[in-house]
Assembly symmetry: C2
Homo-oligomer: 129 residues x 2
């Protein structure tokens, strides 16, 4: 299976697949001639990566998850810890964005209410403290 087919099946860009190989997230597949020759397990692994990205994990975290995934025993606790940490970061970022959203929405809502076409947004950005 050539890289184009893998790209189709996984939704990952061809360049991205090669990038993942370069950084060691995917093993270099065997070659048929000079072309990379992928098997179904590569497709699975790539889909795993992709879904990990969709959940906002970094490539490094995904690498860890990929290492943990086939293990037995304490796997779930370790993964859970990782996921919970990620969730905390996510929530922190979310809280920041919500603050920004609120502040900006408030400013924009005041646009057009000032005399002389004065702009509340600019006013906020330019004011002294």
């Amino acid at each position: 299976m050539k890289i184009g087919a893998v790209s189709e099946l996984t939704g990952c860009n061809i360049e991205t697949i090669r990038y993942y190989e370069r950084i060691g997230l995917l093993a270099a597949p065997p070659r048929r001639g000079s072309y990379r020759d992928y098997g179904p397990s590569d497709v699975d692994r790539l889909r795993f990566v992709r879904r990990g990205r969709e959940l906002g994990f970094s490539l490094e975290e995904i690498g860890t998850l990929l290492d943990l995934a086939p293990q037995d025993g304490a796997t779930c606790e370790t993964v859970q810890t990782l996921a919970e940490q990620h969730l905390r970061n996510l929530r922190a970022k979310l809280a920041d964005l919500i603050k920004i959203e609120t502040a900006l929405a408030h400013l924009v809502a005041q646009c057009g209410t000032r005399p002389n076409n004065y702009c509340p947004v600019v006013e906020f950005l330019a004011r002294e403290f």
Copy 2:
């Protein structure tokens, strides 16, 4: 006023200030000897940039805002349009993050409920479609 003092006053990293100059967001200040010599208006401008960043604007958008800020006339409408566009992007990103947060929280909540220490997070990432 030397760059260190500006850094203190604005909370911007020294390297960042020089970076802003390099990309043309801040004008190159005059020199006293070989040292950059800033005035109060530079501090104002930098604070403007910083607050713009805190509202999530890109440096390019901030450049536009800085150009618009001292104008009269149609300023507010233009700024408002920019800010509204930014707000839309922000809300889209927020919606994405909330989806991720919900999905991940749901998965993590199921950790430890599976037999054989099987992990719901890994299960989600590895499952076929």
